[in-house]
């Protein structure tokens, strides 16, 4: 007959506690591993697959460029509509083309560059008409995550905390998914860069100034001309000027100069919207705390000069646009005064 072991009761009672501790320990370890590996993925030198990640590359480029600089801020009308090399040579100061995609709006890209603006820099705002008439915030909430990728602190402060804290985690996980997607691409496509944290094909599609270097297949000739896009007469809101003034104040607080000029537009579409476009330009000039350079008519081109959208110019027209821009910026006192501008186009089609 065996005696009852006095320790057996206490051991059987303590076992569940030990088991709970073991489970919690393992769960904590797994959580730490997941969080750690995600942090490595997020901040580590692994590229993204989505091209909007080029915001990260462009910010690196901005940091690496010595001041005083000309910083172009806008959408793809800059990425595929400016020859920054020509502009830099004309103005005699480094040019950084921060334009990526109009859908990101103007305010968010400004928030991205703001901490990197230095005294003496000139920030040239080039909003597309779509932005002026529909709003300066990103066109889709999905785009916010790319600001999270570029600058988590600023993204939290400006967007997530204010508007959608509940999607911070899912947006972060979407970024992780994109990075994993890039890893899948690497074995299949040779042209990739593993060095940076930005867009996997950045070096293949963007030059050292931030201009798009890939050739864009033009849209069929009638496609753009057939848009006949007419903006409502009341599309431009005073709030847009107020937002631009607020951003200007923040940039000026960093001792930067702020200018605004107009995006490219087809002359045919300008004719359909002349009233609202000119009125908008007038209001920006009158109420803006930034300096407006040029007029909308300075950047009008025939449909044939555009590639796949009314914001993207073909190479020859890009040069013309750049020269006109350089001329206007030089007139405004930007650069070292050695602008040698040959183009004199001011009226639609006159540059041809």
């Amino acid at each position: 007959m065996s005696r009852r072991n006095p320790s057996s009761t206490s051991s059987s009672e303590t076992r569940p506690r030990a088991d709970v501790a073991k489970l919690l320990g393992r769960v904590a370890l797994l959580a730490t591993l997941v969080a750690g590996s995600m942090a490595f993925f997020f901040w580590g030198p692994l590229p993204y697959k989505h091209q909007l990640a080029m915001l990260i590359d462009k910010r690196v480029m901005l940091d690496a460029t010595p001041s005083p600089r000309v910083i172009l801020v806008g959408g793809s009308n800059l990425m595929f509509g400016v020859d920054s090399d020509v502009l830099e040579q004309a103005l005699g100061v480094p040019v950084v083309n921060m334009g990526v995609f109009g859908g990101l709006g103007l305010l968010a890209p400004l928030d991205v560059i703001l901490p990197h603006v230095r005294p003496g820099d000139t920030v040239v705002l080039v909003p597309e008409y779509e932005m002026l008439f529909t709003g300066l915030a990103p066109f889709a909430k999905d785009y916010y995550r790319w600001f999270l990728a570029v600058d988590p602190k600023a993204a939290w402060r400006f967007y997530y905390a204010r508007e959608r804290p509940q999607v911070l985690l899912s947006d972060f996980l979407m970024l992780m998914r994109d990075k994993l997607g890039a890893l899948f691409v690497i074995p299949f496509k040779g042209n990739h860069s593993l060095a940076g944290n930005g867009y996997i094909r950045y070096e293949q599609v963007v030059n050292r100034f931030g201009d798009g270097s890939e050739e864009i297949r033009p849209a069929p000739p009638d496609q753009l001309a057939g848009r006949n896009n007419v903006y409502r007469e009341d599309a431009f809101k005073n709030a847009i000027v107020a937002q631009l003034n607020e951003s200007t104040a923040r940039l000026q607080a960093r001792e930067a100069r702020v200018l605004l000029t107009f995006g490219v537009f087809p002359d045919g579409e300008y004719a359909l919207n002349q009233g609202i476009i000119d009125a908008t330009a007038g209001q920006l000039r009158e109420d803006g705390t930034f300096q407006v350079v040029g007029t909308p008519r300075d950047f009008l081109y025939p449909y044939a000069d555009f590639s796949d959208s009314v914001n993207h110019l073909r190479p020859a027209a890009r040069t013309l646009r750049t020269r006109r821009l350089a001329e206007l910026l030089a007139e405004a006192g930007v650069g070292k005064g050695k602008a040698s501008v040959t183009a004199t186009a001011a009226a639609p089609g006159a540059a041809r």
Binding site: R15, P16, A18, D19, V20, K22, L23, R26, L30, L33, V34, S37, M38, K49, S170, L173, M176, R177, L180, G181, F184
Partner: protein
Amino acid sequence: MLFNSLQFLIFFPIVTAGYFLLPFHWRWLWLLIASCIFYMAFVPIYILILVVTIVVDYFAGLLIERTHGAERGRYLVTSIIVTCAVLFVFKYYNFFGTNVNWIADQFNLNFAVDPLALILPIGLSFHTFQSLSYVVEVYRGNQKAERHFGIYSLYVMFYPQLVAGPIERPQNLLHQLREKHRFEYQRVADGLKLMAWGLFKKVVIADRLAVVVNTVYADPTAHSGAALLLAAVFFAFQIYCDFSGYSDMAIGAAQVMGIRLMENFRRPFASRTTSTFWTRWHISLSLWFRDYLYIPLGANKYGTGRRIFNIMVTFLLSGLWHGANWTFLVWGGINGLLISLGAATKKTRDALARRVGLGQTTLARRGIQIAITFSLFVFGLIFFRSASMSEAWYIVTHLFHDIGAWGDKHYWKEAFSYRSIGLDDDELRIAFLSIVALEAVQVAQSRGSIRAMLAQRHWALRWTLYLLLVWSILTYGMYVETQPFIYFQF
């Protein structure tokens, strides 16, 4: 409350922790309250339907046990009628009315059944069948009537399997609800792993495939044959991952609390015949129909003709169990027919296989059999998924109508484009890769328990796999286009 929701992520640890922290004699109450909260997260008022079913079957069980002879039968029949009446009113009344109206219309009768504006209570067919199972088992003497009203209520309402099964038997579940379950690391960890695997199947595979399936089935006429075919095959994987994912989570959640629920899926896509398939797919329902319908009908005891009749009745009712629509009835009929044909042609098929050199159970023969069984299942599911018979018929007749274009790569590019199927190339790649991962796990499962296999491996490999699983769930899970579990509607 969905298992793949943030609510459940909070609910589950609280309920589990409370369950183990509370004194044993309060646990049933804790679980019952939790189950009520879980169910009321859908449509709170419908808990009253459950109350009616529970009260009726609880007392029916007691009365059946206390009485003898014909009286017992009367209580059983009353209980079945009341329980089924609830099911009929909420699920089948409008279907019945529509068909009666159609018939009246054909004979120019001035008669119409007005439809009822009722929402189908979630999981109604599941808990109805579980309740029926109880009264029948008490009647048969296989189960003692439960005296404790709370424990009986918990038997019907136990939250992991309340809305989509597995449909439990009282002999398996009731006694477990009375037992004291201790916190055991290995059991809890295994339960959590099973839940994670189920979640992976749901949010990574099923919900991703659902995008294609929903897009194509929303307007089949706008899609090419290849897209229809892709949607049909994807739906097979979607419904499997959706339902088996749910079952894994249910079984895992119960296992964490020390309660063993029955297996509901056993690698059905590896089945070599349709009849085997139905012993591996939604096992708890198949067994329910076998035990409470097919066998009482006489099973295969009275010759081939009667056997086929019994099979057809069982499968037609199984189809109707899924939904009040002719499409479900046809789906059930197709499966019944396939099993009947399978049994009737077995000798001929074996002889044919021997003649073409596939007499032995070779890998090739197994592969062909599995492919045929899977294809037949996919075919039947077209009716299951379609909104109407005409839609199903359109899909069936257009799957291969443009087969002449299959050689053209642009055809495939267009058929599988984002515009056509709603998933871009990357997402489609993830979908295919996740199906491959699923199949790899299934193949490994055929060699034994994955958990046992993993336990023998180096810790580094195990933890890498756990990490990968969590990463996949987090990054590749579909959280924006979250789909409710398909079987919740039944």
